[in-house]
Symmetry: C2
């Protein structure tokens, strides 16, 4: 890629970005769009514009607000997980900032002023374009200027160690502060017990569990909630909820036009076939039918469908935290206990999976992921080989007239491979989430962490390694066939060339990506369309704008990929560093706004994502160091051994961090959990918050099951405390 197409690429991206920013500034002041640009604030019952009305508002106020917001604001609005994400963005931004400040003034002149006699390729042309002259490729083999590069490796590495260490400490404190909250949080009083063996002495599950834990914790055990097979009851419950929703809708339509005909619908497939019925009448009848059916199913489920796992409640936090860390039975694969996830993020269907079923599922999933990572290499290779302009013209001759126009050619030349890559990567996350859930993981946050890990491995292997090594080898396949030794020379010259590809990739990501993110064009359009044509009731409208999660499962691996790319090229092609810094700096700013005002997190894991981010940052650093060892070798640098200590230091750093911090992110430290609570917890409320909605009796009766096995004493008073999304 030459300089002009590089500049075009940057310029186009920037124009799009500016356009989207202006669009955002304009759209966000319209009161009708408040639900799109401020949903988090609205859902929390706050004024979207804080004092100033939408008219008088400075369209760039969001920047000031983002900068002036503190970490506490983020935690208050969006939880610890979001705050941890900002620590990540801030740390990585810091790494690139500090690296850039030192590396750019040193490495760029060192490379540019070099007179490299080899700077002529086999065809006799100067092999270096203007951009490549700024890279390490331009430095002579065995040259003493390579010492500057070696120093740069140390600088980048130690900056990373230092900032990561500080960040880990900071996140650890943040997690501790969140865990020691004086508020009563239901999940801090509960543990999840799985793999309960079948009882020998004819006790019911409920009795067995209660006896077992009452024996071990005679004073602190409160109650247990046996997990039941909710498949059937959940089906009825969902149907009932749907009917009620449709009834409200039909009634709303009716009330808007009381003289008109009653709303009707067809009962068959998708409302297109079957008998035409009066909707209000039909749904009312259906609800009357389903309600007693649900009651009966609830009773049957509670009594007869008890499974081998349970949520066990304790009257204080320290005991619950300790119980989650201890082995309870001499057979370690029975009565396994972990911290209970928040009720809203429990995946009930995964709870009864047994110990070995989980292990086997895990290995099977790992194997499938491994296959996915390997087999995707082939399409990625093909894409990077075919999406060059000459290839496109050859393959799709009808495009020739378009492709021959200069501007289009420049733009396409700059973007085509990148767009192909982005589209390609968009296919995967759902599949990985599905796989992670199939492992038998009991909470949504854990599933997202697992999927995020898989996605990271996928992107690094395929995008980074695939494009870099694969692209190089593919391009110069024939030369290498003739002269296998030339592979190192090829790598030495083409590695920095790939850097330009990634440079535009990063720029595209942040200019267009963040522009779209901030302006929320797509949700905005969808919302307005829905509101106009589909939404009938208030609930419908609210559903149409409810923003959902930030989506860490794909967000973080994508950021990590950028980090990996930038750090790996940071010394080879230092020009990439500012782009990395802008990506993470701008990301910080844009997402600060989004997190404070838009996204509503659907769970809280108290920063458990951090160790994964940390270890992947370190892994990228390690990859960078290995790349550099290799690249110095390719450059025939005699003093290459002076950077051998770096990978070793990285391993030691990983080891120490893991030993010092990691276990606290798995379990809750007792000292942290021993802080005083604001009030004595109402254990009944704690307990009820874990009852899945489909088992929660919504009738007004204060019914108590007389059966001693019944584990849920349903009281209507607490029905409101239950959370949505029972059977995830």
């Amino acid at each position: 890629m030459d300089l002009s197409s590089f500049i075009t690429s940057l310029a186009t991206s920037f124009v799009i970005f500016v356009f989207l920013m202006i669009l955002f500034a304009w759209l966000s002041t319209k009161p009708g769009n408040a639900v799109i640009y401020y949903p988090n604030r609205i859902l929390k019952g706050m004024d979207p514009w804080e004092g100033s009305s939408s008219k008088t508002r400075n369209p760039f106020a969001w920047i000031r607000e983002a900068f002036s917001s503190s970490e506490q604001d983020v935690i208050a609005m969006s939880g610890v997980d979001s705050a941890v994400y900002f620590v990540f963005l801030g740390t990585v931004f810091g790494i690139f900032l500090i690296s850039g400040i030192v590396l750019l003034p040193i490495l760029l002149p060192v490379a540019f002023t070099e007179h490299n006699p080899k700077a002529v390729d086999s065809t006799g042309k100067n092999a270096f374009n203007d951009l490549d002259k700024l890279s390490m490729a331009h430095i002579k083999e065995q040259g003493s200027r390579l010492f500057a590069s070696a120093f740069a490796c140390y600088w980048v590495s130690f900056t990373t160690y230092f900032l990561l260490w500080k960040a880990y400490k900071h996140v650890s404190d943040m997690r501790a502060a969140a865990l020691m909250t004086p508020e009563v949080r239901a999940e801090q009083f509960a543990i999840l017990v799985r793999d309960i063996p079948s009882s020998a002495d004819g006790l019911s599950r409920k009795q067995q569990i209660d006896t077992y834990f009452k024996n071990i914790y005679p004073e602190r055990f409160y109650k247990s909630l046996v997990v039941t097979d909710n498949k059937e009851v959940s089906k009825i419950h969902d149907e009932l909820v749907l009917c009620k929703k449709k009834l409200t809708r039909a009634e709303t339509i009716k009330s808007m036009n009381p003289e008109g005909p009653s709303p009707t619908h067809k009962t068959g497939f998708l409302g297109l076939l079957g008998k035409k019925v009066d909707s209000i009448e039909y749904y009312n009848k259906k609800i009357t039918e389903l309600t007693p059916k649900l009651d009966a199913a609830q009773k049957v489920t509670l009594k007869e469908k008890q499974l081998a796992s349970a949520v066990v409640f304790f009257t204080d936090r320290v005991t619950a935290a300790a119980a989650a860390q201890c082995i309870h039975d001499r057979m370690v694969d029975t009565w396994t206990s972990i911290n209970a996830p928040e009720p809203r993020q429990i995946i009930w269907t995964n709870l009864p999976k047994t110990f070995y079923a989980r292990e086997i599922r895990q290995y099977v999933v790992y194997f499938i992921v491994f296959l996915t990572i390997c087999f995707y290499l082939i399409p990625i290779g093909l894409i990077s080989a075919f999406t060059t302009l000459p290839n496109l013209k050859k393959l799709l001759p009808f495009l020739k007239s378009i492709l021959d126009q200069k501007t289009i050619r420049t733009v396409l030349g700059a973007y085509l491979p990148q767009i192909a890559l982005l589209v390609f990567l968009a296919l995967l996350p759902k599949f990985l989430l599905f796989l992670s859930k199939a492992e038998g993981i009991p909470s949504v946050s854990h599933v997202e962490r697992a999927a995020s890990g898989k996605y990271f491995y996928f992107s690094v292997f395929n995008v980074f390694i695939g494009v870099t090594i694969g692209g190089t080898l593919f391009e110069s396949f024939k030369d290498i066939q003739k002269n296998p030794d030339s592979i190192f020379d090829k790598l030495a010259t083409s590695l920095p060339g790939n850097a330009t590809f990634f440079l535009t990739f990063v720029a595209l990501k942040f200019f267009v990506g963040y522009g779209l993110e901030l302006s929320r064009l797509i949700p905005l359009i969808i919302f307005h369309l829905k509101r106009k044509y589909l939404c009938k009731t208030e609930t419908d409208i609210k559903e149409a704008w409810t923003p959902g999660n930030l989506g860490y499962a794909t967000k973080i691996p994508n950021d990590m990929l950028i980090f990996t790319i930038v750090i790996c090229y940071s010394v080879i092609a230092p020009l990439i560093i500012p782009f990395g810094a802008i990506y993470f700096g701008l990301g910080w700013l844009v997402f600060r706004n989004q997190v404070l005002k838009v996204y509503v997190p659907s769970y809280e894991s108290y920063g458990k994502m951090w160790p994964h981010m940390h270890v992947r940052i370190v892994a990228s650093l390690f990859l960078f160091q290995l790349t550099m060892v290799g690249y110095f070798g390719v450059k025939k640098f005699l003093y290459t051994p002076i950077i051998f200590p770096l990978p070793i230091i990285t391993l030691i750093f990983t080891f120490v961090c893991r030993k010092k911090f990691y276990r606290f992110f798995e379990s809750s430290a007792l000292e942290v959990m021993s802080r005083d609570l604001k009030e004595t917890p109402n254990m009944e409320v704690v307990y009820r918050s874990f009852i899945p909605p489909c088992l929660d009796n919504e009738k007004g009766e204060d019914e108590q099951f007389v059966d001693p096995d019944a584990h849920v004493q349903v009281k209507n008073a607490f029905a409101q405390a239950a959370v949505p999304g029972g059977n995830v």
Copy 2:
């Protein structure tokens, strides 16, 4: 080795064994030897001969007694660790018994009746002697008789899985039963806390620790005992104890001959130089000097030499067990807690070592062990090369006349290499124990486990692999140089030849080893010599016969080596199986006697050795399976893949066992610890049992330190509860 020298070897061993047995039967009935043959019974205050007097006693009664003793007897007399050792012996005996019953009748005829056209070596002689004809080497390459060997591999493997599974369950139950004892055991109420960070708010260690744990366990925390730097006080204490002992001795000498001159000694080096003094006077003066010095040193130590670790006591067992498994602080490398070892086996000097010091020491020690294992390969190789008769004659010509006598030649030919090996192996254990202690491990039992592991790796790598592969390659070095492909043929024929070497090695081990063990000839002689010439007081005599530990650190790796050898050759040379069975069967019998009557265990770890034994048995099985895969390959067996599943099954078996059982051997399961106690524990006694003897105030005063920092409230009443060996 030919048949005659093999038979000679066996016969000699057997004669020695019979001789030692008769000696034992005769010596053990002499009342004067009771302290050598029945010390454990005597120390437990039991009658050595149980009813019948020494005269009327059947000299072979010990066999009946060994067989009739139950596991409960063993646990009562010698603890769970000894009982676990018998489970090990029993299991391995079972493996060889069941394997032998099936394999011998199948494999021996299959091999012996084979007509192998290759059974002629390069010199034209029949390459097979009579013993080798019974081995797998005699089976034709690619022959269908190899299916019998493949079946044998499966039989041996599944027998091992089955018996190991049963044994693990059994040991797990035994451990649980021992842990849930209704007796009060001090260590079950305590945890060991290390890596206590320096206190920020100016508290003393003692206050800091108390505040910390009182906060987390407000109701269950009892007290803490801060570990102090006892170097100085321990030196004074030891000196004082020695003086007292010597005083008693001088007084005894005086009292035996009241008219004679007072005993005197010289004060200089080893009592050989310096001024001659009256012993009684001298020691009395020294004791009067040292006693206040000890008092002062104790006070200084308690107050000023508090270190960053402590033993923390709880009022119930479940809390202590839970506390040992939990992380207490958000910085996981601080306030680390583990189950407290028994007071008698705490290595006090290792307690203050910090987290990373321990980690670093561990890796350094591993590296040293690795070097040891590798460098010992060289001497072992030399030994097995030089200790052949022709070599000896060449090297030591003056031995020629002796070596030319036929009987001596046969005996030496049979034994020389083995004896060299045995002597060689005797040098190592002390060094490995020292290394393991240097790792910073806090308890003696753990040090022995660690040393045992290192010794196992050493023996397997050096003795087994070294002799087998090394010996083969060394012998046929020239042939291989000429024709490198012949290496496989060489291995194929010489592997079974090595089996004969190991056969005599095993036989020597059990006949001579167990004979010496049972007859206790060496301790007996040493005891009688000491009693006659050195012992003056009762204490001296008791010290002279006190038997000590069984010595698991060397015993178990030795047994494991035999197991590895026998199982690896079990299919190649099935004749070794009965020898293995006899080794472990006879071992069970002999050690049943020794454990019940002789050895006094110096610690109890509740069977924590078992997982190590288990995993090493499985590792040996794995080695066997790999050897067989290799040997089938050497035999050019087309269906070799039919035994590929075996190593995989072994890995799965290991994985499941680890997941199911292992953690219970690391930590105490809460359900097990929640059983009721016989009585409410007297926490003061529990606490005092952990005070190192050098800090225990032996004066009659009921002194309480008024200083709030003082962590040891010394009361004489409990001085007896303290155990010997404070500063190990």
